[in-house]
Structure formats: structure tokens, C-alpha cells
């Protein structure tokens, strides 16, 4: 099986491949081959489409249901309808109580180089009941648009697609529990917007995308991801909405977005986010609503925010925020209704930069607000700040 894994989302034990699914043969990174297990339902139409979207190639599709193979040698979208009654694999029952059987689809590249698959593209109207995909296809990239119609799946993927856009690559895999990628794949993303949007309930380890100078906007937005390791996105120019509406997210490691100008809404409405590591955001100017709605988050540590020009609603509804480090900040902001004691507020005052004109910091309704002494307040006012309580 694949050894050079970069991301493994989900632990090996949290999801177990159903025993009734047809087996997938072993595959190595030297292969140019696709295996996909497809769910064929008793009461559904079971027509699927596969887009051979780009390249010069000759491929063979083995449908696995006893029907004739399909040879594809031009850029096209092919369709196939599976017959439930024709399959001899075991009858299974999904979580909604519907009967289905599984079939193994195999695609082999005979010659040339296919450079893009599309599963369920906007022009392919059909069912997309892929359950388990394993592929090694060094020349091709894959899009699973409209994957929200897919059922529970286990996806493994290997191959490289070089410095090309992977927009929507894994988008909408809302029930994906485990996926695997080799390290080289994500390292060269140049425009990675929304790659993992709507991804299912899983955990992701450390993630490095340093080859990207494009935007990683909404990379994990609206996903059900629970935990993410250290993120090194140091070259990307925009990381706004990266984890927006990630309601399951509870923990994120250190975040390096040193070249991103906008981190707006980055963690907005991540209501269960409890812990996040140090944030390197040297070039950031717009942090508006970055943590808005992070009601469970207890600590936020920026390394340097001297370049920031917008802190509008950045900490709105951060009711659990006990500690905030904002070294060098020189623009107006509020931490109203946070959970900072006096020591944390003093630390915040010590971190303040000295703006050229008077700026305002609002610390109203924090537990330590009433405990601030004249000397504490002088730390801020002596640096040209107005403190409102």
C-alpha cells in the first residue's frame, strides 16, 4: 500500500471499513491506476459519470459488473448505469436502511497522460456513490465536486499534480472520515481555495503548504474537522475564512500565515475551538472577525500584529478568552465581554504599541476590569491609548 503519506485524517481505529465492501487490490505509487468501490442501490438509478477532463491518453474502464469495458481516448465524460440485480456481491444496508451492493471499478492508463479526473462535475448529473477510492496516478488530479451526494467513504489517494490549481479538490466530501495524501501533493498548491471545504469528521496532523503564493481562502471552511496540527502556510497571500464555520473544530496547532494580508473570518463561528497555538502573521493587515464567535477559546497568541489596520469584531463573543497577546498593536480594538483577569489585561496593556494618534482599547465587562489600578491604566494611556471600562 502507499507509504509516503503526508496527511492521514482520522485515526486508523475511528472508522472501520465495512466487511461487505468488495476488496481493493494492492497498489503502489509506481502504478497508474484507479480503483473505486461504488454503491449500487436496490431502489436508485445508479448511473454515474466520470469525466476524463484533460490530457492525451488511452484508458480502459472496467466497470466490475460483467458489462463490457469502456475505452476512453479523448477528453470526454462517460456514463454507466449499474444494475443491482446483476451483482453477486453481498447485500448491505446503509445507515438509512437502504439496501445496496458494491462493485469495484478499475481505470487503467494504457498510454499517454490523463491529467484530470472529474467525479460529479457540474455537467455530470448522476449518482456519485463512491465509497472507497484508491488511486496512484502521477499525472492526474481529481475533483470531487458535488461530493456531498456521496455516501460514507474511505479515500486514499496518491500521485502528484505539480504546481497547479487544486481548487475544490476534496470539496464537499462531507462524509469523508479518512483520506491520505503524499507530501508532495499539497506542497505546490498555487490556488488552494476551498480544497477541503465540507470535509467530514476527521483529524489532520501537521500541514505544510509553503509552495503556495496564492490564496488558501476557505481551505477547511464548513468542514467537520475536529483537530488540526501545526499549519505552515507561510507563503500564502490570503488565509481568510480558513476555518470559518468549523463547528466541530476543537484544537489547532501553531499557525504560520506570515505572508497573508487578510486573516478575516479565519476562525469565525468555530464555537468549539478550545485551543490554538502561536499565530505568526507578520504581514497581516485585516483581522476583522477573525475569532468572532469562538466562544470556547481561552487563549490567543499573536507574535506580532504591528501591521494590522483592521480589528473590527476580531474578538466578538470570545466569552472564554482569558489571555490575549497582541504585541505591537496600534489600532483600536475591543475585548468587551471576554474573560480576562487583571493580570491578563495588564499583559495586554504591556503588549500595546504606541500609535501616532490616540487609539481606544475597550476592556468592558472582563472579570479583571474593575481590579485595574491607576498604575495599570497608565501603562496604556502613556502609550497614547484610551482605555474604556
Amino acid at each position: 500500500m502507499i507509504n509516503d503519506l503526508y496527511i492521514q485524517a482520522g485515526s486508523p481505529t475511528e472508522w472501520v471499513r465495512p466487511g461487505g465492501w468488495v476488496d481493493i487490490p494492492s497498489i503502489t505509487s509506481a502504478d497508474t491506476k484507479f480503483y473505486g468501490v461504488y454503491a449500487v442501490y436496490e431502489t436508485r438509478k445508479n448511473n454515474t459519470y466520470i469525466g476524463f477532463a484533460a490530457g492525451t491518453f488511452n484508458c480502459t474502464v472496467v466497470w466490475g459488473d460483467g458489462t463490457a469495458n469502456t475505452t476512453v481516448n479523448t477528453v470526454s465524460t462517460i456514463s454507466h448505469t449499474f444494475a443491482y440485480s446483476a451483482l453477486t456481491s453481498p447485500i448491505l444496508v446503509d445507515e438509512y436502511g437502504e439496501n445496496y451492493k458494491t462493485v469495484l471499478v478499475t481505470i487503467t492508463q494504457n498510454s499517454g497522460a490523463l491529467t484530470q479526473f472529474n467525479f460529479g462535475s457540474t455537467t455530470s448529473i448522476g449518482t456519485h456513490n463512491w465509497l472507497d477510492i484508491v488511486m496512484s496516478w502521477s499525472t492526474a488530479r481529481v475533483q470531487f465536486i458535488k461530493g456531498h451526494t456521496l455516501l460514507q467513504r474511505f479515500i486514499q489517494y496518491t500521485g502528484t499534480w505539480g504546481a497547479v490549481s487544486v481548487i475544490s479538490f476534496f470539496q464537499n466530501l462531507s462524509r469523508c472520515r479518512v483520506f491520505q495524501l503524499p507530501i508532495t501533493n499539497l506542497g505546490a498548491i498555487t490556488a488552494g481555495n476551498s480544497v477541503f471545504q465540507f470535509l467530514g469528521n476527521c483529524e489532520i496532523g501537521d500541514l505544510t503548504i509553503t509552495g503556495s503564493t496564492g490564496a488558501l481562502t476557505s481551505l477547511f471552511a464548513n468542514s467537520l474537522v475536529r483537530k488540526v496540527g501545526n499549519l505552515n502556510f507561510s507563503s500564502t497571500t490570503a488565509a481568510n475564512a480558513l476555518f470559518q464555520n468549523c463547528f466541530n473544530l476543537i484544537q489547532v496547532g501553531n499557525v504560520n500565515v506570515a505572508s497573508s494580508a487578510s486573516l478575516s473570518t479565519m476562525f469565525q463561528s468555530a464555537v468549539n475551538l478550545f485551543k490554538i497555538g502561536t499565530i505568526t502573521s507578520t504581514a497581516a493587515t485585516n483581522l476583522s472577525s477573525m475569532f468572532s464567535g469562538c466562544i470556547a477559546l481561552r487563549q490567543i497568541t499573536f507574535l506580532n500584529v504591528a501591521a494590522v489596520t483592521s480589528l473590527s469584531a476580531t474578538f466578538n463573543a470570545c466569552y472564554s478568552l482569558e489571555n490575549l497577546r497582541m504585541p505591537g498593536v496600534i489600532i483600536t480594538f475591543t475585548v468587551v465581554d471576554c474573560a480576562m483577569e487583571r493580570a491578563a489585561l495588564v499583559q495586554l496593556f504591556n503588549d500595546l504599541g504606541t500609535p501616532a494618534i490616540t487609539r481606544t482599547i475597550t476592556v468592558t465587562r472582563n472579570p479583571g476590569s474593575a481590579d485595574l489600578t491607576a498604575a495599570d491604566l497608565l501603562i496604556a494611556t502613556s502609550k497614547n491609548w484610551i482605555v474604556t471600562l
Binding site: T332, T358, T360, T362, T364, S369, A370, L377, A380, T381, S382, N384, W385, I386, V387, T388, L389
Partner: protein, 52 residues
């Protein structure tokens, strides 16, 4: 009924509200002394209810 009284100031295209106190480099406004100030003080005024 929420108590929305306090010192208010419109600046930087937004309203600021200090229900209890304002500490600035050159002045201080305290709720308990609200009736002693000659408003506006650097744009701050006292309102018994939210003015906007």
C-alpha cells in the same frame, strides 16, 4: 431592561461605549462623577440610554 447608560463617543466611524470609566492620556471620566464634567470631553458625552 439592560442598563445602557454611560459615556458615549462616535469616532473612527463607530460608537464607543464606556459604562463605567474612560481613561485617556490627558483626562479621566468616571461614572460616579458624570454630572461634574463639561461635555463634550474629547467627544465623550454621558447618556442615560444608548444614543443610537
Amino acid at each position: 431592561m439592560e442598563d445602557t447608560s454611560g459615556f458615549y463617543r462616535y469616532d473612527e466611524e463607530q460608537w464607543f461605549w464606556a459604562p463605567n470609566a474612560v481613561y485617556a492620556p490627558t483626562y479621566t471620566l468616571l461614572r460616579e462623577l458624570k454630572d461634574t464634567y463639561d461635555y463634550p470631553v474629547d467627544g465623550w458625552r454621558w447618556y442615560d440610554e444608548q444614543p443610537y
